[in-house]
Amino acid sequence: MVLGTYKQVVTARSTDKQIQKIAQDGGIASALLCFALDEKIIDGAVVAGPSEVMWKPEPTVALTSDEILAAAGTKYTFSPNVWMLKQAVRQYGLEKVGTVAIPCQTMGIRKMQSYPFGVRFLADKIALLVGIFCMENFPYESLRTFISEKAGVDFDLVEKMDIGKGKFWIHTQDQVLTIPLKETHGYEQNGCKVCLDYVSELSDIATGSVGSPDGWSSVFVRTDGGDTIFKQALEAGAIEAKAINEGKFGLEMLTKLSTQKKEKAMKVIDERKAMGLPVPFKASSEKEGDPLANV
């Protein structure tokens, strides 16, 4: 199952005009967290909030919708959100924590829940895990290279960054610049090269841009808990959903990209194993079931 296990997949967006305006895609991440907060399903959320440095996110415990919305938009560099979960529970005293996580962060959280060795009374306080799709991530200095050196734009002028259609897009108030993805290769985080998860397979609800039109998001509803919250948010009208395009620009595209990512990573895993380098995942020869499973 190259897209993980899921109960349903749809194309969806937030119905809130303000969220639509500031969100990266359909605003599903922000809308779900805000809705969960309003409904007291969560009492706070760890998000990739702004820091003093433009486009360098800082994991933040958001206690209000405004704070959740301040974190909207994709930052293509590290935001160690998992780090802040303990603070959320200990310092902020939260009992039901929501969070946004890229697939590898989801992996840290889920492992901690199944094997909470030193992690006391935290595992059961994660009430909503919104996963986002992720092809790769970049060190902050890589990002600076794209923006300042390759595109020659001042960081402070950048309003949005996006990866899509084979290009890295940089939006400022009055122009749109692109860098071919060929030129961003070699700047990715190294740890991404063995990553076998594209669509946040272990989240409660996973969302991303690929597979849906601009301004909309693709959404996989995965766990029972995620299913309940997603249905409630739909019923309450916080989000709207329609059937996902099954074809070339929808599920087919998602399947294609996920397969490509996994095949590439599997090759690197096999090479590393052959060299005797450590990697926590099985080599393809050791896999009994799905050759592209995240194991």
Partner: protein, 262 residues
């Protein structure tokens, strides 16, 4: 009752069988109510305290699922009896012949020896001991118990969380080898340090900047700088938890999918 406890722990009820690990299976199959001993070496009783923090399930656990047959602070008994599982807390002092003797005796009398807590598993902060203090200035050398006897399972943590203790005991009762396997593997992880993140994850091109290590560190020896763990070695107590919880050290995919119902 077992069902209630499993529900509390989010555990799956069907035990899995792995032929090679007969010892644990014996505990599960032949003795439905395992005899558990708690052995206190050079530890602080924090691991034992953590066990008792399983408030919701402690009473049924103690009365219906296990027998605590031995343990200072718990049972008034001097002679060490035969035990199915011995939870050994604390490292062992090479210069203390009583501790050394007790540890050897545990190995003889227990079916499964568990390094319970990081002191027993990795030495933890007793790694910094160097003698020269009253009233025993020669008590200098403290080592994880696996340096002296064969250890079957390690449950690191300073202390291990109440949940992992409960999950381990229930898995042992059920003979759930899949769940226990990482703990068997960890019995060999005795030289732990926060610097393992650098050597075994960052240096190996595996770090993804998730922050799980910094979240898990029980002494806040770790922060995240530019998406990588940064160690304040003066705060590190060598408990090993950061590396154990890192998603890039070992990866229990099947268990996670099962726990999530995926």
């Amino acid at each position: 009752m077992l069902a209630r406890i499993k529900e509390f722990l989010g555990m799956e009820s069907k035990p899995k069988e792995v032929a090679s690990e007969q010892e644990v299976e014996k505990v599960a199959e032949e003795k439905p109510k395992p005899r558990i001993g708690y052995i206190h070496l050079s530890g602080c009783t924090g691991d034992g305290m953590s066990l008792t923090e399983n408030y919701d399930i402690l009473a049924p656990l103690l009365t219906e699922m296990i027998d605590i047959v031995y343990g200072q602070t718990l049972v008034d008994l001097w002679e060490m009896p035969e035990m199915d599982i011995a939870l050994v807390e604390g490292s062992v002092c090479l210069q203390d012949e009583h501790s050394m003797h007790e540890l050897m005796e545990v190995r003889e009398k227990a079916g499964l020896v568990v390094a319970f807590g990081s002191c027993a598993a990795t030495g933890c902060f007793t790694r910094y001991s160097r003698g020269g203090q009253q009233a025993q200035p020669s008590h200098e050398s403290f080592v994880p118990i696996a340096d002296i006897v064969k250890v079957d399972l390690a449950i690191p943590g300073c202390p291990p969380s109440p949940e992992i203790i409960a999950k381990t005991v229930v898995a042992a009762i059920n003979g759930d080898m899949d769940y226990l396997q990482p703990m068997m593997d960890l019995a060999g992880y005795t030289e732990a340090c926060g610097c393992d993140l650098q050597y075994k994850v960052v240096n190996q091109a595996l770090c993804i900047g998730c922050g799980t290590c910094a979240m898990a560190c029980q002494t806040r020896a770790l922060t995240m700088t530019n998406g990588r763990p940064e160690l304040n070695s003066a705060r590190c107590i060598k408990c090993g938890i950061c590396y154990v919880q890192c998603p890039r050290s070992w990866w229990p995919a099947d268990r996670i999918n099962k726990d999530l119902g995926l």
